[in-house]
């Protein structure tokens, strides 16, 4: 036996390094993972992030509070309203102001519609990754309707910046409310349609059940959040545990899974579609009348009509536009439940009109190490399924 032959025999395993991303269509953005392969099986997975780094946290340190809101839209770009809400709630907590009831309800309606839209994109792309093309087209069809609703109330389809400090950008119209009502009447039949295509589909079951399993303890320890945590059997939803923005007024269930595999995450998210619809329905029914933003002109702009008759309103308008809101010195953190899990801003204020530090707690960012842990020992074909089931958005990972 020659030395070379001996070396070949002694080599323990024939591993191959496989690069996936950042331009791979199934990595949902610019996510790169280096897979160490043993045949078809993944030995280890090493994530690489930062390809979409835009320095939003650093830029925020030179922008006034109001100007940070449009940037928060671009973090989790599939559900911009959740980020708006998290940011505004944190600043409002520092300002110690309470927004009117109608604003809270409008915020809830918009956030739940954004959650539905975000879950639809997730279902569309996740199913497409695994090979179910039709679902993709169906989900996009319904998401389009939500984007139209966004446009109708805020003028913008995706990056709405609709939630502002002290309330929302503008009041809803009866016509818009009717459009939302029409949508939530139309939507449940469509969820049934998706479920008919997937829930009992044998190929779907084969590709998702018992794959990417994460136990309850692991999910907590790896700081997973949102549907991934709930699919592992943890009953943790910040809308229930720490009601914010009036969520205590609504009755809804928190769907949880048992096995913590891809299929359970699918079931949890589809159940959340129904629950979100239920919340919107209740919010429309209970929507109170009254102002849609706080009456404090140091936080929100005075009514346009008063500008021509009230000197004080004009001064406030000028001060607020030219200087912005000054936030008392301090720091705080308010978590909210976004479509991907716990979204929260840790904001440090030095007492001026510019934040001293804005830190986003991004659920996708925290989920990436746990996701790569799931990939170990699975087949290469299941890697796309696992990435899809976590529902990462690179905008908030790289910030």
């Amino acid at each position: 036996m020659t030395v070379t032959e001996q070396g070949l025999l002694e080599r323990e395993k024939d591993s191959m390094t496989l690069n996936m991303g950042p331009q791979h269509p199934s990595t949902h953005g610019v996510f790169r993972v280096v897979l160490e392969m043993d045949g078809e099986l993944v030995d280890s997975a090493e994530p690489h992030i930062g390809f979409l780094h835009t320095g939003i946290e650093k830029t925020s340190e030179a922008k006034r509070y109001v100007h940070v809101i449009p940037m928060t839209d671009r973090l989790d770009y599939l559900s911009p309203l959740g980020n708006n809400l998290a940011f505004c709630l944190t600043v409002e907590k520092l300002l110690q102001t309470d927004v009117p009831e109608r604003a809270k309800f409008l915020r809830v309606i918009m956030c739940e519609l954004a959650r539905i839209a975000s879950h639809l994109v997730w279902l569309a792309t996740h199913a497409l990754d695994i090979g179910a093309m039709t679902v993709f087209l169906y989900c996009w069809r319904e998401r389009e309707m939500i984007l139209d609703l966004n446009e109708e109330i805020s003028g913008v389809r995706m990056m709405t910046s609709y939630i502002r400090l002290g309330g929302v950008a503008q009041d809803s119209t009866p016509g818009w409310l009717q459009s939302v009502r029409n949508f939530i009447e139309y939507f449940p039949a469509k969820i049934d349609e998706y479920e008919r295509l997937l829930t009992h589909n044998p190929i779907w079951l084969d590709r998702t059940q018992n794959i990417g399993v994460m136990s309850r303890e692991e999910a907590i320890n790896w700081s997973m959040s949102g549907p991934v945590l709930r699919a592992s059997g943890v009953n943790w939803d910040l809308r229930k545990q720490r009601p914010y923005s009036g969520y205590e007024n609504f009755e809804f269930e928190v769907p949880t899974g048992k096995n913590g595999d891809i299929y359970d995450r699918y079931l949890v998210r589809v159940a959340e579609l129904r629950q979100s619809r239920e919340i919107v329905k209740q919010a429309l029914k209970k929507l109170p009348t009254g102002p849609y933003k706080v009456d404090d002109n140091k936080i929100s702009l005075p009514n346009r009509k008063t500008l021509k008759s009230s000197m004080e309103a004009l001064i406030h308008h000028f001060k607020l536009v030219s200087e912005g809101v000054s936030v008392p010195k301090g720091e705080t953190y308010v978590p909210v439940e976004g479509p991907r899990g716990e979204v929260g801003f840790y904001i440090i204020s030095d007492g001026s009109n510019v934040p001293s530090r804005v830190k986003l707690r991004a659920p996708s960012f925290m989920a990436i190490p746990g996701m790569c842990k799931m990939m170990e020992g699975c087949f290469i074909a299941d890697v796309v399924g696992i990435i899809g089931s976590i529902d990462i958005v690179m905008g908030e990972v790289d910030r």
Binding site: G50, H53, I220, N221, S223, E331, Y346, I348, D350
Partner: protein, 176 residues
């Protein structure tokens, strides 16, 4: 437990290890030295009444402009899934030697935010298994979220703006 009860209990159990504690806007906050943070974290995680099993977030902060001692701070946000309460731990770090022990042996979720601390603030996280650049490229110089890191200029091949950059570093943040 309410925030007041948490703070009270921690004070009784770990009185000598914590510098101070407060309830800030309804949140319980502990101030701990870097040398004791691991002990406190372990206590908070394993105490049956507190049971902080979920690490929500780790954040760095730079208080350069406020001219206070110490300059840096690391902030931990913990939740208890079982008990549904939260706590914030603030750890001051020296400018000369910003070193902090890792808590990734307690919560695996700490791996990424601690790497981010190293990347963005240049903190030395002792005991971390893979302390390297996370978001910035591997050959990047400087720590972008420090307050003395220029906001508007980055190193490019031009040389005409080097002086401008130096000015920015010395001065306070640009126009507000």
């Amino acid at each position: 437990m309410t925030s007041e009860e948490i703070v009270k209990k921690v004070k009784i159990d770990q009185g000598e290890a914590i510098h101070s504690s407060e309830v800030n806007l309804g949140d319980s906050v502990l101030f701990v030295g870097a040398e004791r943070i691991h002990d406190i974290a372990e206590y908070l995680k394993n105490d049956p009444d507190l049971n902080f099993d979920y690490l929500s977030n780790i954040t760095g902060a730079d208080y350069l402009n406020e001219e206070r001692e110490p300059r840096f701070e690391v902030v931990y946000e913990l939740h208890s899934i079982e008990k549904n309460h939260s706590i914030r731990i603030r750890v001051g770090l020296d400018e000369e030697d910003p070193t902090i022990p890792t808590v990734s042996d307690l919560w695996k979720g700490a791996h990424y935010p601690e790497r981010e601390l190293f990347d963005m603030f240049g903190f030395n996280v002792e005991g971390h298994s893979n302390l390297s650049r996370l978001i910035m490229p591997e050959d990047w110089e400087g720590n972008p979220l420090r307050k003395d890191y220029p906001l508007t200029i980055e190193d490019v091949t031009f040389s005409h703006n080097r002086e401008f950059k130096q000015d920015l570093v010395k001065s306070k943040p640009p126009t507000r």
